[in-house]
């Protein structure tokens, strides 16, 4: 089966969040499962490392309609890990000095990209049966396909899957953009119109053959206004075609048996090296090591990650007799708070402000407990990475956290709490501490966590099943 995976970012080329992980891993897993999956993404000239750009080959160029404009579009190609990547090139749109997003013309940039993906298909030797578009940046691909291409030879048999990674970003703009940028005729604006604005994501939900989210629980949660960021009405009406598959992690990249960045290698059979990793963390953070659990948090500091709960009961967490290391950056209030806690409890709290992937891995390897009390979490990868490194997750049962972490009381691999409540979280930490104090039980729990299958293989099978269902077999 031929699958084109359209994403605005993909590892290792350009990344700003979890989408890049998925776009860098799922197609690879699909190829390993025998499918011809390819990725198309923008050619971010200034964001892609030179050594990766060097290996790209120019294939073709053509023009792309963007509202009343006709814009140049080049296509480059590169094969990596068995997956062919296409890069949509237009320096006006994608050669920027800053990050990937956040520009005044983001709507126009991704209108161009969406249209270019479809136009590209008549110029390359690949005919997809499925286009899997991701998040608002690619949400107009199914819309344009439905409006302009579905009856054109070569396009008619393409099925559209739209995946929501984060419903918080929908591509909402004023209606004035329709004529100037989006290029959808007035009598079809209803497809993308929502609450007197245009909403790219709503358009995709409206017309895609299937809508997927990154975990089964999240696919149900977004039907509720608490989680939906306003899209619950349209999602409820399209519930019949919505489903959720849990993401996986790259188990080669996150492998304590082969990871050279950690102090000592270890495996599910032998946890010895994990102790060395724990000692290394204390050394790195300049903290004394006690025989108590080390709790880790690695995250962006944002309210929905549950930091308000942590802040509310932090002194009580410390009184449980644990040590804590935190790596992250984000909202100033939390950066200041953790800095202050580090000063208040210098032997119990270590804090690293910023993001350091290598240190993050060392923390995953060295900690005992991984705390992730998110208010909402579409999928979450950190809890899976933590488990892979034998660090037992304590999570709130929401979204992908609910789907990936079963409570130890049910023979699972972590500790969960249901309500978004600081003391419920605290109780989960206390339960974890109780397990930790029973060394034999804890060792069994760590082994179970490390053996849990978070590879992409399972997700890939589910996606292939969905694709086959759409293609009629």
């Amino acid at each position: 089966m031929n699958i084109l995976y359209a994403a605005s970012e993909a590892l290792p080329f350009a990344a700003s969040g979890g989408l890049a992980d998925v776009a860098g891993s799922l197609p690879k897993a699909l190829v390993e499962a025998g499918e011809d999956a390819r990725v198309v993404m923008p050619y971010y000239v200034n964001n892609i490392k030179p050594e990766l750009k060097e290996k790209m080959t120019f294939i073709t160029n053509f023009t792309v309609p963007v509202g009343w404009r006709s814009q140049y579009c080049g296509v480059f190609m590169q094969k990596m890990n068995g997956v062919i990547y296409y890069f949509i090139d237009n320096e006006y749109y994608f050669k920027r000095d800053g990050g990937l997003y956040g520009y005044y013309d983001d709507a126009e940039r991704y209108v161009f990209f969406s249209r270019a993906v479809l136009e590209m298909l008549r110029h390359i030797d690949f005919h997809p049966q499925i286009i899997n578009s991701n998040d608002w940046q690619c949400a107009l691909i199914p819309v344009y396909h439905n409006l302009f291409y579905k009856n054109e030879w070569g396009f008619g048999d393409i099925k559209n899957v739209f995946t929501i990674h984060n419903i918080g970003y929908q591509g909402q703009y004023g209606l004035d953009l329709v004529k100037d940028i989006v290029g959808i005729p007035p009598h079809n604006v209803n497809i993308i119109e929502y609450d007197r604005d245009i909403n790219f994501m709503k358009g995709a939900i409206e017309v895609a053959d299937k809508v997927t989210t990154v975990s089964p629980t999240y696919s149900r949660e977004i039907l509720d206004p608490w989680f939906s960021h306003g899209l619950d009405r349209i999602l409820r009406s399209k519930q019949y075609k919505t489903t959720g598959f849990l993401n996986g992690i790259d188990t080669d990249l996150y492998n304590p048996e082969t990871d050279d960045t950690i102090a000592a290698k270890f495996s599910a059979r032998s946890h010895k090296g994990k102790q060395a990793c724990k000692s290394a963390i204390f050394e790195e953070f300049g903290m004394p090591q006690y025989d108590i659990p080390l709790i880790a948090m690695i995250s962006r500091f944002a309210d929905h990650k549950g930091f308000d709960l942590v802040k509310y009961v932090f002194d009580e967490i410390i009184s449980v007799d644990v040590q804590v290391v935190i790596l992250g950056s984000g909202e100033q209030q939390y950066e200041n708070f953790f800095q202050e806690m580090h000063w208040r409890y210098p032997d119990k709290v270590g804090f690293y402000r910023g993001y350091n992937p290598s240190l993050a891995k060392r923390i995953y390897a060295g900690a005992d407990i991984f705390l992730m009390p998110s208010k909402s979490e579409p999928c979450g990868l950190a809890q899976m990475i933590a488990a892979r490194y034998g660090t037992v997750p304590v999570v709130r049962a929401t979204g992908g956290l609910r789907d990936s972490i079963v409570d130890a009381g049910d023979n699972g691999i972590g500790f969960t709490f249901q309500s978004y409540n600081a003391h419920d979280m605290l109780n989960a930490i206390r339960r974890a501490k109780g397990y930790y104090d029973n060394k034999s039980e804890w060792s069994k729990l760590v082994t179970r966590a490390m053996k849990a299958d978070f590879s992409w293989g399972t997700s890939a099978k589910l996606y292939i099943g969905l694709y086959k269902e759409l293609c009629g077999g």
Binding site: T63, P65, W68, S70, R122, L147, F148, Y149, K150, N151, E152, W153, G154, G156, G183, P185, N188
Partner: protein, 177 residues
Amino acid sequence: MNEFYEFESWDKLDEIRLILNRLNVRYVVHRHDDEEFSYLNDNEICVKIPNPYTDDTNRTVFIDLQDEISLFFGAEWHAHYYLTEEDYREFCETLSGFMKNELCSAAVFIGEDLHWGGSMLADRKSVSEKSAEEIFAGNTPSDANDFKQSWEEKGAEVRFRFWNPKDDKMVVFERKR
């Protein structure tokens, strides 16, 4: 832009796609780098609509988006439209009419060798209610009897071709000996 040139023809491609999608008609978009379409210039486009009812190439529709819009219904009928909104509207109505089987091409072939004697657009109602002579007469200064007389003198075939051939009609005028 002048009075015959209010827009670029190729800018109408998306609108034409929408019409064809609405009519559930499948089509192919060709550009100058496609084989057999090298007559097109850089931005020019040809939309080819193969007939799903028959392999008869005389029933394929071609829309050329060049410095005018040209609509071809096989080899027997075609029309050219200025790039004005008024002409474009007429083009859209004609295209839709063909696809809905409400319009057809009416072509007359004269004499024993059936040489082409002219063609026009006819609507289903006229084809079913009027004679061929009346249909053609309505589009020229002549009256119906003049047509009948000239066709009967040399013999003629009048072919009404629809998008779906099930509605086709042919009228034969035998030569008077």
